[in-house]
Subunit: 115 residues, 2 copies
DNA sequence: CCGGATCCTAATGGATACTG
DNA sequence: CAGTATCCATTAGGATCCGG
């Protein structure tokens, strides 16, 4: 078997999930639709620029839908699409693995390599 | 519920899986232990520098074990640890999701946003 | 209230050459 | 055979300020 070609969708999915803040945003959305400002309250360390960028990426991927309520003041909701909802299985499998193999201290598992 | 803190292990796992070439390396290792040069044959586009870097990262995470056969010429095998083997469930869940939600063309799913 | 525009720095990845 | 070392281009992310 040759492995010269990657699955582009897999790559895209994995790289998206690996980006900073993405998983946090997804988790928050898994509970319920959220407004832009709610993310900021929930995660003060996440800047508006990155929040906006991540939401846009997820929207581009069809994982998140942006719903604009057309009244004043402007009111925007972000919610998971079906595609996004099915990501929950992935998120949980990563979490399960991480929980199972967590190590307590920050030490490397790797034994010293000879130089 | 507050989401001000991320699960560091989850983050680390997701970010590792999202790095370029990592998933390919894992897939190759899931079949059987491999030698350094075998990766290069299987994936010619992957440079020695990055291959070495990825393997080292996976080793540091305790996902891959580096086994040196002490005879001439030097002979090195990389193999999955139990921790690494259990990543297969994660890889498969990502693949399942990616397969289910693949789109054929390169077009964005997102409907145009008003500017 | 919901972002966009800018600027700057750090991290990532590719190419190439060299070594125990 | 199995890597390191170096250099460079691109990308990702944080900080800050501005606008409909």
């Amino acid at each position: 078997m040759r492995y010269d070609v990657m699955c582009p969708r897999y790559e895209q999915a994995a790289q998206l999930l690996g980006k900073k803040w993405t998983n946090l945003i997804l988790r928050i959305l898994m509970g319920q639709p959220r407004r832009f400002g709610e993310f900021r309250q929930q995660v003060p360390e996440l800047s508006e620029r990155l929040l906006s960028e991540r939401l846009r990426e997820l929207e581009d991927e069809g994982i998140v839908r942006r719903v604009v309520a057309d009244r004043r003041p402007v009111f925007v909701l972000y919610e998971l699409t079906p595609k996004g909802q099915e990501l929950e299985a992935v998120v949980r499998s990563i979490q399960t693995w991480a929980n199972a193999w967590i190590c307590i201290d920050g030490q490397s598992v790797r034994t010293a390599r000879r130089r």
